[in-house]
Symmetry: C2
Subunit: 151 residues, 2 copies
């Protein structure tokens, strides 16, 4: 109890540092394709699960649905995706990639995969699997609403 943050050993600080380094490297890799990281993330999600609504995309990309709204308008104007004028059910507008959108995603996904490969190259597959497990545990522990620091 009454513990303080020690910067030298803080996993949180390392987490932020790694996420920032990854984002910077992704920005550099995506700049030649005229895509931001958020735009790429949106395309990647749509490639994996076509027909997602804007709200679903927002949650998957970790932005608000208002931000996703502006993002989708930009990508639609560039012809990378299409949305119906009216919703087939409820209010959700299913979004899909165009052919041009799939081509842009393919190029971007290749570029980002190279960045991620560079990031994890030094780790063995087993170590990588451990990291994934541990990061998932972090997310699960933080998402739990109650905070039993000492049960």
């Amino acid at each position: 109890m009454d513990a303080r943050v020690e910067l030298d050993t803080s996993v949180g600080y390392l987490l932020k540092q790694a996420a920032t380094a990854l984002r910077t490297a992704m920005e550099a890799a995506l700049r030649p394709l005229s895509l931001t990281v958020s735009q790429y993330a949106c395309l990647e999600q749509l490639g994996a699960r076509p027909g997602m609504s804007g709200s679903e995309l927002a949650r998957a990309v970790f932005v608000t649905r208002q931000s996703m709204h502006a993002l989708l308008r930009g990508l639609e104007e560039r012809g990378l995706l299409t949305r119906p004028a009216s919703a087939p059910h409820g209010r959700a507008l299913p979004t899909d990639l165009t052919g041009e959108g799939r081509a842009a995603l393919a190029a971007a996904s290749t570029a980002v995969a190279a960045v991620e490969q560079r990031m994890v190259a030094a780790l063995s597959p087993a170590a990588l699997a451990r990291v994934r497990t541990d990061l998932s545990a972090f997310v699960a522990a933080l998402d739990a609403p109650d905070a039993p620091t000492e049960p």
Copy 2:
């Protein structure tokens, strides 16, 4: 070569998810203290290394020095830190916490430590040390300017 990103197994996506969850939890913990995450990070750095310049702080907190400039003005107006009117050497203005600033940092650091503790509670000390090592390896690999994906 020509690899694509697989969302289900992407460490980058997990990294972003974990960083977002941590930031959200920190925002919630710091809101009662009227501090943002960036402001807290700034105070924490100054607590560990008094006398840092604005540019040094910016690099440590992962924002631009322009953003840090605005951030420091706000914290100075609230009386949490002080900066000299002129630089004792060069252009760098050494920044220091006031007594009130140290008090705010103590409260904030305790709150953030609880969040971080909740995040890592499920991991053994050995597993935690591994995660730190691996995250450091990610940063080092991404910061390397050349990208030898396949040497």
